[in-house]
């Protein structure tokens, strides 16, 4: 697949982790992403905002090749280059499973597996064939600590994940995503099913997590994007309208369309 040259919106002092270049994507005949380009900076939080149906979740799900699971979906041009590999994630020669081992995901609705808390977190390690009990124990503990859940569950690791509260379940899903030491974690509206207190704790956690990983988050909540992200991209009808440093994008958007959206005149 021919990849267009690099996107020029890099920010000084920031290192590129991934680069979306003129990406086209189709659901069957529906053109869902139209020549979308944007950079993803290492150890930063980048958020995708825009009204429903603008393609922000579609773009997110390209990063871990989730679209490959369903027939009829088609990457139709352009690509996503991952650094330092300098490899197009959408190249047919790239194994989606390898991609998902390095780029993990947290979903909109907490979806713990019907397993114990411990096994939920250990899942991504077991999938990789890890059998050593001590190593598993260590990795599960550090993932749960990373997701700020360890103190609440350390004495009931054998209980079902579904017994936790909604916010705890979502942190369990974050721990599950963290356990395999991914380079990027994708968040697909991770707080839309949670109450305000649980939302605040997840937001706090995301800000802490960028020490360890690069974060890409889809949110329909503009305040959330403003609170937690370093960079924000505004999408509309499958196109990238504007990408910029969050503060600048919210205070002084370059495009009229962005201004209309963030001031609530539209969407």
């Amino acid at each position: 697949m021919q990849i267009p040259t690099g996107y020029e919106a890099g920010v000084e002092g920031a290192v590129l982790k991934a680069d979306v270049r003129e990406l086209d994507f189709y659901y069957g005949a529906f053109h869902a992403l139209k020549r979308v380009s944007m950079p993803i900076h290492d150890h930063m939080v980048t958020s995708l905002i825009g009204p429903s149906g603008c393609g922000k979740s579609t773009l997110l799900r390209c990063f871990n090749r989730m679209h490959d699971l369903y027939p009829g979906n088609r990457y139709a041009g352009g690509g996503i280059v991952l650094y330092p590999d300098n490899t197009n994630l959408l190249d047919p020669g790239v194994d989606p499973i390898e991609v998902r081992m390095r780029i993990s995901m947290v979903f909109q609705k907490p979806n713990p597996f019907p397993k114990s808390i411990y096994e939920n977190v250990a899942y991504s390690l077991r999938v990789r064939g890890m059998r050593n009990k001590n190593e598993l124990d260590d990795r599960v503990e550090s993932a749960l600590k990373g997701a700020a859940l360890w103190n609440e569950v350390s004495n009931r690791l054998k209980e079902l994940g579904a017994n936790l509260s909604g916010g705890q379940q979502q942190r369990l899903c974050i721990a599950r995503a963290l356990a395999s030491d991914p380079e990027i974690i994708l968040f697909d509206e991770p707080t839309s099913a949670l109450d305000p207190i649980a939302t605040a704790s997840i937001e706090e956690l995301i800000i802490e997590l960028k020490e360890k990983v690069t974060i890409l988050i889809v949110t329909h909540n503009m305040q959330q994007a403003a609170r937690i992200s370093d960079f924000t991209a505004y999408m509309y009808l499958g196109e990238m309208v504007e990408f910029g440093v969050t503060d600048q994008l919210f205070i002084k958007p370059q495009k009229k369309a962005t201004e209309d959206y963030i001031t609530g005149r539209f969407g």
Binding site: N64, M66, L69, P71, I97, E98, R100, M101, S104, M105, F107, K109, N111, P112, F113, P114, K115, Y123, S124, R126, V127, R128, A162, C173, R176, A177, S180
Partner: protein
């Protein structure tokens, strides 16, 4: 002024609230009657099924009672011979039970693994087209009359098995059990598949997003999430195996035989009942009464399995 005189007007009789009920708002007698008729029709339909069940249990228990007046329960449970038609009559249900358990065991060894594998394939691996073609065929397999399966066992499978194992008698529990297993596959596969397909896509996506393969997702996430449905599928399969009659009557020989060796001929509870019910034993004789005791045993067994299934469903029900 007395206390009663100070009562507020709203406690006075309702007549003072208005001029009675107006025609517009009055209860409609015709509607009331129609509702009642419909309700009683629905009730009697539901009551009918309950009545039939109770009646069956009543007949079985009543006739078995006659049997147990003559034969002590301990003989029935612990005697190792079943010869109710001989002069030296013995009534050890164990003999028939061994045939039922052996043939069911063989059948389940076929049906549970194959049915589960088919369910996993259809639910997690097969494409839309394959599933749309394969499922009707699978369900057709469940629609074949069991007498056809019986002849299939007797005239097709047994000769093949005899080539591999020359000492195998013409009537045997093995061939009947294997064919019975094939008959049960559709029940196990179809219900298990339904249970797996009911597992929400979000769980599968969660597993794939962690880098799991299809097989890992199917075995480690979808199957555990569908446990309660799969367990009921197995229980239904067991009940079918225990209650199956025709295949065993045709292919397993109907000779009461206390054995757990599937390569021998044997009679099961069901095939014995067919034999006696179609025979020329006079009604009311003790030989004839045996079929009610045998039938009651069968009913208690399937009841036990149904209760087990009910318990499993409650125990493992997933809240997605």
């Amino acid at each position: 002024m007395t206390a009663s005189a100070s009562l507020p007007t709203r406690l006075l009789p309702s007549a003072s609230l208005g001029n009675g009920v107006s025609d517009r708002l009055r209860k409609k007698a015709s509607r009331h009657v129609k509702e009642r008729i419909i309700e009683s029709l629905l009730f009697s339909a539901a009551a009918f099924s309950v009545f039939v069940t109770v009646a069956i249990v009543y007949v079985l228990v009543k006739e078995s009672w006659v049997f147990f007046q003559v034969v002590p329960l301990s003989d029935f449970l612990f005697d190792t011979q079943w010869t109710p038609l001989f002069d030296d009559a013995h009534y050890g249900i164990m003999v028939l039970l061994s045939g039922t358990l052996t043939s069911s065991g063989v059948a389940l060894l076929v049906a549970i693994p194959l049915g589960t594998i088919i369910a996993i394939y259809l639910s997690e691996f097969a494409g839309f087209k394959v599933r749309e073609i394969a499922k009707p065929f699978l369900e057709l397999l469940g629609g074949v009359p069991t007498i056809v399966y019986g002849y299939f066992a007797l005239t097709f499978l047994t000769p093949i098995l005899q080539k591999i194992y020359p000492d195998l008698p013409g009537f045997n529990l093995l061939s009947a059990g294997l064919v019975m297993g094939i008959m049960i596959i559709p029940y196990v596969a179809s219900l298990s598949e339904d249970a797996m397909r009911a597992v929400p896509m979000a769980l599968r996506e969660g597993s794939y997003a962690m880098g799991a393969t299809r097989l890992q997702t199917a075995l480690w996430v979808v199957t555990p999430a569908a446990t309660s449905g799969i367990a009921s599928a197995y229980i239904l399969g067991i009940s079918r195996a225990v209650g199956e009659t025709m295949i065993l009557a045709v292919a397993a020989g109907m000779q009461p035989n206390l054995t757990f060796n599937p390569t021998e001929p044997g009679a099961t509870i069901t095939s014995y009942i067919v034999q006696v019910a179609l025979g020329d034993l006079p009604h009311g004789s003790i030989g004839y009464q045996t079929i009610f005791a045998a039938g009651l045993t069968l009913l208690l067994m399937t009841l036990a399995f149904n209760l087990l299934g009910y318990w499993l469903r409650k125990r493992f029900r997933e809240v997605y």
